[in-house]
């Protein structure tokens, strides 16, 4: 039998022993997922944006960059673009600050710590459409419990009241308050994830480094800004990245609370793409609006990953 090549046996064991083949097999589902559910829709969106496609017409007539021209001259789109950055950056800065505080608190031992952890994670587990409806009631123009408490404390509804003489603040009826409301709800929504990520990062910091800093006389703030924060920067970058991507592409909070109003003052790219592309039927413009996610997300993601990498290396 010597000298005779044996044909390879394609058994499970054979695959298991061939590292390259095994790697290919194991990564294939992820590649397929990305191609089918991200790559294909992305290419489709590009094709739609170069056409005059509508939801009601299967025919595809290519019109070049005309749709982008229309979108860029649309004042609502420009407002939505600006709002998307305000909504995302404001909520994510709040998330990072609050998540850091929460993570530091949760590092300490105190009675009821498990319950507090559970409560902090709760917003992440609740379906956002349901919780946003809860917030809709909290910000209701007539029945808002915040307004009710403010009125009870004499802060609202009286001639000399600090927050105004009207019986309600009209949270979602005034542009500034409406934007503040959607930012607040988004912050509440993303906070648990960021807290868990930062908590994991904090736990990974070697205790002896912190003890050494304390022995050297570094107080809480000095330890925080000169020891903990630099070591936590890669993890914080990842938390920010997740929050940024989730928020930049999200329309649920805006759709449920304000539908982009009042007068488009909380309109964001995702909601505008939906209104234009699906509700109004202009699929081409909806696709073109949605494609503006790509450069923004690609740019911010690259930047954050670079920051995280440098922080890690240094």
């Amino acid at each position: 039998m010597e000298g005779v090549e044996q044909a390879p046996v394609f058994s499970l064991r054979y695959v298991w022993e061939q590292e390259r083949l095994l790697a290919t097999v194991m990564i294939a589902p992820a590649v397929l997922y990305v191609v089918a559910l991200i790559g294909f829709p992305f290419v489709l969106a590009i094709v739609y944006s170069l056409s005059d496609a509508t939801t009601g017409d299967p025919a595809l007539r290519l019109v070049g960059l005309r749709t982008f021209g229309l979108v860029l001259r649309d004042p609502v789109f420009l407002k939505a673009l600006q709002n998307t950055f305000v909504f995302t950056l404001a909520s994510q800065v709040l998330v990072l600050v609050l998540a850091k505080i929460l993570a530091l608190v949760l590092m300490e031992d105190f009675p009821g710590k498990r319950l507090v952890r559970f409560l902090i994670l709760l917003p992440w587990t609740a379906p956002i459409s349901l919780s946003a409806i809860g917030w809709l009631w909290i910000f209701d123009s007539v029945f808002s419990p915040i307004d009710w408490i403010a009125r009870s404390l004499g802060l609202l509804g009286g001639p000399e009241a600090l927050l105004g003489s009207e019986p309600n603040l009209y949270w979602l009826g005034r542009p500034f308050l409406a934007m503040a409301s959607v930012i607040l709800v988004q912050t509440w929504r993303i906070l648990p994830l960021a807290t868990v990520i930062l908590l994991a990062g904090l736990t990974a910091i070697p205790r002896d480094i912190l003890d050494a800093a304390q022995v050297d006389g570094a107080g809480f703030w000095r330890r925080l800004f000169q020891v903990i924060m630099p070591m936590l920067l890669p993890v914080m970058s990842i938390a920010f990245l997740f929050g940024f991507v989730f928020t930049f592409t999200d329309m649920t909070v805006v759709y449920v609370l304000t539908r982009g109003g009042p007068v488009n003052s909380t309109q964001v790219l995702a909601s505008w793409a939906f209104f234009k592309g699906i509700e109004a039927g202009d699929l081409a413009q909806g696709a073109a609006v949605a494609l503006f996610f790509f450069p923004a997300l690609a740019g911010v993601t690259t930047l954050i990953l670079l920051v995280a990498r440098r922080a890690e290396v240094s």
Binding site: S141, L172, I278
Partner: protein, 475 residues
């Protein structure tokens, strides 16, 4: 070993045999009973909104459709979804080329014209059987530019003014407002003296948009003319916008900028609005939840503008489409004719929320599932009788409260009036250009500027759809 081998074979064989058995059972049944086989082939899949009046679905329509299916040997599948999901769902089914045979919209689905069947035949047949269709329905389902019926409208909903009689009586107007100017004069006094605002939405939602249309029409203007040319930028539109800014200042509060479609209902029921523009649904809810408020809610027709013109928008327009992919188009058409033939039941089951598109259709005789109404021959007679004496009136409530709505067909218009509904009109509607135009002026922008801004957006939209060949006009 033997036992194990037998066991393995049995497992494999089981799956094989079970599959073959099921197949044989199916074929066998078809061979034994060809009628059953044919029945399995005839299907009708219907997708429609969950009606605002739940009993319409639960106590009437679902059973009505199933009973028709049983009588005709058609397997009827009925799916209800929330009204907000209808556009996305329809788009998905059209895109996939598969889905329901009948899809009901509650606004004109004009943008789907290229992908739905031309329903000229059934519209003509319905007019032959039930008389002339109401223009509000025709102009919401027919494209005069392409001469195609892209839908079939069986009914609509009236959008009157709802007011609190006790509040209006205190300022010397117990029968409620008659003109838009009355809202400023008396509504303003109610707010100032009694602290209750009136509520016409200036928000990014349906009811606010309908109110904006009604205002423009009553001020003798619109966004388009009958030939689908954009006409929004004119002195009368500016006058209407100026009026709304004035009305907001004296009679409303910022809550109207944040309203959802149910907010005006809630405000009225909570006793926080002296007047709203809405269908009778708010009143029906009040009858069940707060009867004392319901007893104080009365109705007025569309308000007159400065030159006596008065129009209101239909609140809901029911339009079925049959997507081109449907293999049951004939069955679907037959069902639609059956629906119109039984519209008396639809009106009753919806607690008068639905009004017929075919007022001259005969009312079938015999037991109809509601207390008999003597002397009634057509849907028009029934409409008149029920609106004069509401069968859903609660104990202790005044009679004839709905009487002002009897002639609603005279002052109700389709979205897009004086032109037809179209995809361009739909996009103007769906992107909230009109309520935003009014809201901007209410928030301080010069009315002429707000109108000019709206014109730019509207012209762009019209131009896009004109390029696609779906609307007429030149400007």
């Amino acid at each position: 070993m033997k036992a194990k081998q037998r066991k393995d074979i049995t497992r494999r064989e089981f799956i094989k045999h079970a599959g073959a058995g099921l197949l044989a059972a199916g074929l066998g049944a078809d061979l034994i009973s060809p009628r059953r086989a044919r029945a399995a082939e005839k299907t009708l899949r219907i997708l429609q909104w969950s009606h605002f009046v739940p009993r319409y679905d639960t106590e009437w329509f679902d059973r009505f459709a199933q009973q028709w299916g049983e009588a005709k040997n058609v397997k009827v599948t009925l799916d209800h979804i929330g009204l907000a999901e209808i556009p996305a769902r329809t788009a998905a089914e059209i895109s996939a080329g598969e889905g329901h045979d009948l899809i009901e919209w509650i606004s004109p689905p004009a943008q789907f014209e290229p992908s739905v069947l031309d329903l000229t035949d059934i519209n003509q047949e319905a007019q032959r059987r039930f008389g002339k269709q109401l223009p509000v329905s025709t102009l919401s389902s027919y494209n005069p530019h392409t001469r195609k019926y892209y839908g079939f409208s069986h009914g609509w909903t009236i959008d009157p003014g709802n007011y609190r009689k006790s509040l209006w009586a205190k300022v010397g107007k117990p029968d409620g407002p008659e003109t838009w100017e009355d809202l400023v004069a008396f509504g303003g006094r109610i707010k100032k003296e009694l602290g209750i605002q009136l509520g016409i939405g200036l928000s990014q939602e349906l009811d606010s948009t309908m109110a904006a249309w009604a205002l423009l029409w009553s001020f003798d203007t619109s966004i388009q003319d009958a030939q689908e040319n954009v006409t929004i930028n004119n002195p009368r539109a500016v006058e209407a916008v100026e009026y709304m800014a004035r009305l907001y200042k004296v009679a409303m509060v910022p809550e109207v900028f944040s309203w959802t479609p149910v907010s005006n209902n809630q405000a009225l029921i909570a006793g926080r609005a002296s007047y709203i523009l809405n269908s009778i649904s708010a009143y029906r809810s009040a009858q069940k939840q707060v009867p004392e408020i319901a007893k104080d809610i009365f109705f007025v027709p569309a308000l007159k503008g400065p030159r006596g013109t008065r129009w209101s928008s239909e609140h809901v327009i029911y339009v079925y489409i049959i997507p081109s992919y449907s293999k049951s188009a004939d069955i679907a058409k037959e069902f639609l004719l059956h629906l119109v033939a039984n519209y008396d039941q639809a009106m009753y089951a919806s607690e008068l929320y639905n009004s017929p598109a075919f007022f001259d259709g005969p009312v079938p005789s015999g037991s109809r599932g509601y207390p008999p109404v003597p002397g009634v021959r057509t849907a028009r007679d029934l409409h008149k009788a029920w609106f004069e004496d509401d069968p859903f009136r609660i104990e202790g409530e005044a009679k004839g409260k709905l009487a002002p709505l009897k002639g609603a067909m005279e002052w109700s218009a389709n979205v897009g009036y004086p032109g037809p509904a179209s995809p361009a009109v739909g996009e103007v509607f769906g992107t909230f250009i009109l309520p935003n135009m009014l809201a901007k002026a209410a928030q301080g922008m010069k009315p002429a500027e707000a109108v000019a801004e709206a014109e730019v957006q509207i012209k762009k939209i019209f131009s896009q759809w004109r390029n696609r060949g779906l609307i007429g006009g030149k400007v």
